[in-house]
Symmetry: C2
Subunit: 358 residues, 2 copies
């Protein structure tokens, strides 16, 4: 039952529209990379060794539940249908890499999906904790408590000088990646986003699209994360990223103000048209939906559109995605036009569901 | 008061969405050209002669009212502001030609605007009678009764062989032009309209756009009228035109059916998007509005859109026009962006006004 909901309910706890700076920061995420001693990294391990990793993690499950007060589903990747795998990717709970060789791969997902632990992805363990809004401290604390629970009974590869050992050297040290998902239409429409993307490597940060590395910046959604994992404390890293995000927020707010000041009619018309199309269209493509949703959300954030709750944006970020729609219909072979029709229907339903004042 | 309403009320009797075949035929119009004996045609008359024509018509006003049971406003063209002149053109009550040399030009307009009599346009009298839907007999009877009332007391130029004498030889004979305004999105979208335009001269018919000769076919609106005025009876002419219009209607209906059959998703999505934009846009250009209105109307006619009464289309054909909007604001110098904003506002109001079931 719970598993079923995971694939059919578009709601994800960490994308519920609440939290600090939630009009710009969609979510904050902490990821820790960990590996067991005396077992080769997944890309060099054989199947029995990978199976051993799974067994160790499964054994630690009660400890993880006790440490965090959360309940977890243990899911074997090879037990999932293609559609289900893709839904978990669309929900940011597993990576595309994780489904490529599914044997002896698994994932633990907390009931509210704020925690996912990928087993035998690039590292033996990828602990991921997410919350809505700008708040890296809470997911860091949660990730640390998971890590503590694991390390209390299992032997994790750690070097006094190098810190945590990881499959890829870019993760050495803390093994920590902190990232924040931002909605930045103001900076895109005022063409200032390029500056931020260009300057980020100098700040030790990476900027990616909605689905991580190599994905387009559709829907004006950006993920910003730290690149360096060595030579800083965990707290230092998240303070650094949080500081930068606050600066970006300031710029984004100024950009929105200046947009409204320089071409108010154009902005107002544009966000209302997006709302009108979302509310009534009968066919919407995957690419178009994010553009329209971004405009609608900007309209809501600017106080122009008051007919709908901002959460409709967050929910539709998941609910309008192709594999989620396919899975909802239990039909892997839906044609593109069927998917686009279903997407339009889901959007219309969501707009009514999140209507303000009925 | 009544005159005021003429310029600010978008409602025109002959475009009220009622009548036979009203889903395709917007209106039917009869025009008679008449000239007085012993006075040169307007383009060759001097100002005292033009003034004499006006005086004769003004003298006949009680007879016209008695014959038709309608009340008329007598309006001197040179008394109108530029905006008011343009509103009358947008309402199809006077021609552009009529305002070019306004001295001693006038127009009589019945209170419900189903009759307009231009004085000293190309001919001394241009009697125009219009009704909603497909019905050329009613406006012909009305025009004939106006003509009878005039001829009972005034001497009209008539030749036994040539019939009524007119300024332009193309109007000789009956001096009658019958025309029908059609909404033909089906024939446009299935690219069959070209055939009809090409074949019409062979049938003695002319095809024009919304505002007559030389205007574009924006909004998929076409005016079809007889070209020949000599050698036929009035009844023969309107029977001929009515027969052709019935054939066009059959083709239009078949085209709509085939559109819905061949690409239902595209049609349904397209009409709903048009509705969504019209309902929420904050700025709409004059060109775009007719395209959107045509799609919305098609959606209503096909039973896809049930939220709004089809009359919204007819009302907005007048109410969304630039000069009407300018006049409504009593501002000749409205900027393009102000006009486009006002247009969007008028559209939103009209959609709510004509909403079905509130």
């Amino acid at each position: 039952m719970a598993a079923e909901k995971l694939f059919t309910d578009p709601y994800v706890f960490w994308l519920n529209g609440t939290g600090t700076q939630a009009d710009i920061v969609l979510s904050s995420r902490i990821r820790l990379a960990r590996n067991f001693n005396d077992i080769p990294f997944p890309n060099r391990a054989n199947l029995p060794q990978l199976a051993k990793v799974k067994e160790l993690v499964r054994g630690a499950l009660p400890d993880l539940e006790a440490a965090t007060g959360l309940r977890y589903q243990y899911i074997g990747i090879d037990e999932l249908t293609k559609l289900e795998k893709n839904v978990l990717i669309e929900k940011h709970l597993i990576s595309r890499n994780h489904i490529n060789s599914p044997e002896e791969r698994s994932v633990l997902i907390s009931e509210d999906s704020r925690v996912s632990i990928m087993v035998n992805e690039e590292d033996h363990l990828r602990l991921q904790c997410m919350v809505s809004g700008l708040d890296l401290k809470t997911p860091l604390a949660l990730a640390m408590s998971l890590d503590d629970a694991i390390e209390s009974s299992l032997s994790i590869a750690f070097d006094e000088k190098m810190g945590y050992l990881t499959s890829c050297p870019t993760n050495l040290g803390t093994g920590l990646r902190a990232s924040v998902m931002l909605h930045l239409p103001g900076l895109v429409f005022t063409q200032q986003i390029g500056k931020i993307i260009n300057i980020s490597p100098q700040l030790g940060l990476a900027v990616r699209g909605l689905y991580g590395e190599g994905t387009e910046f559709t829907g004006n959604i950006f993920q910003i994360s730290n690149q360096l994992t060595l030579g800083f404390t965990e707290e230092g890293m998240i303070d650094n990223l949080t500081g930068t995000v606050h600066e970006i927020i300031t710029h984004e707010k100024a950009a929105r103000e200046s947009l409204l000041k320089s071409s108010p009619d154009k902005v107002v018309d544009s966000v209302w048209r997006a709302f009108g199309i979302l509310r009534y269209a009968r066919s919407v493509t995957e690419k178009e939906v994010l553009i329209l949703l971004s405009k609608m959300r900007l309209g809501v954030d600017l106080g122009i559109i008051t007919e709908v709750n901002p959460q409709v944006f967050n929910e539709l970020l998941v609910a309008s995605q192709t594999n989620y729609l396919r899975n909802l219909q239990e039909n892997e072979n839906m044609s593109q036009s069927e998917i686009d029709k279903k997407r339009a229907e889901i959007i219309r339903t969501a707009i009514l569901k999140f209507a303000v004042g009925g």
